[in-house]
Symmetry: C2
Subunit: 150 residues, 2 copies
DNA sequence: TTCCTTTAGTTCGGCACCTAACTAATATGG
DNA sequence: CCATATTAGTTAGGTGCCGAACTAAAGGAA
């Protein structure tokens, strides 16, 4: 009874996620940046300064998760976190000059994954992967929400 | 330019992994057990006591990762970790009586995911998901190994 | 205006991962 | 036989994720 047989799609989703995170983090390590830290920079570069709460929705993570990522970026001097004068609860996030300089030297880890993992793979197969995983995720999240309400 | 479009299979693999981990951990939380901790128990139940190094290969994680999981299980009184008399470097892992009792009350989180996420999904689609993710993972790991050697 | 609720963010503690650097013990080659 | 690998496991520190519980500020209702 091989347990991996029972949930092979789940097992491989996990393995792929961990492998791609490893590649991205290896790529970014020389710049002392984690994968989610990079993604925060990406948003700040492409959308300009924004409140932490807006980033929260873009990244789709919980508050303490983003709080930790931001703390690391502030510690490294890459991002400034200042209170919004309009609403003293909110914090505006903005790249520092050092952050802007860093960004210009950074490789694009998303392009790397796309190329090294999926280049040449049948488009329809990829569409199937997306469709199956998307629906499976929705089903699990529905289950989780149901459990919360009950 | 939506970044998610560029690597949608990767994005959904991640989302699915996180969602399934959340469901599993919610299921196991009443028993004060994490997902990987559960998987260690599963192996100890099905294969009997074994050295930590053998578990390492079964779980396919790095040494410090397993070390942390084992430490948590020992702290909770679920697993005993004793030196192998044959080889003083190795540690034999064995369920405690409390661990055995706990196991008998535990739900099966793998069955849960299989049912709630994939039940009714076309077998061929699942096969495609496995095939694509498996090959993508292999490509990334090959890349990682190459980088190590160079 | 005052009280109450909601919202934004942090802190704490926990899980699951990693690399780098370490100890202790066994195995091996000269 | 002894010096030198190699192997097993731990520790330290970092990333990314979570829920629970907290503070502070803003919004609303009586």
């Amino acid at each position: 009874m091989d347990i991996t047989k029972d949930n092979s799609a789940g097992i491989w989703a996990k393995k792929f996620y961990l492998a791609s995170r490893a590649v991205v983090e290896t790529t970014l390590r020389p710049y002392d940046l984690g994968s989610s830290q990079w993604y925060v920079l990406w948003h700040l570069v492409h959308d300009g300064p924004m409140a932490q709460r807006d980033l929260l929705r873009l990244l789709q993570v919980e508050k303490p998760t983003l709080s930790g990522i931001v703390r690391a970026l502030v510690r490294k001097g890459i991002v400034d976190q200042m209170p919004d004068p309009e609403d003293q609860r909110q914090r505006i996030l903005k790249l520092t000059p050092a952050g802007v300089r860093l960004w210009h030297n950074l490789p694009d880890p998303i392009a790397l994954i796309r190329k090294d993992a999926f280049e040449g793979v049948d488009e329809e197969d990829i569409a199937t992967v997306v469709r199956v995983l998307q629906s499976a995720t929705a089903r699990l999240q529905a289950l989780a929400n149901e459990g919360k309400k009950t």
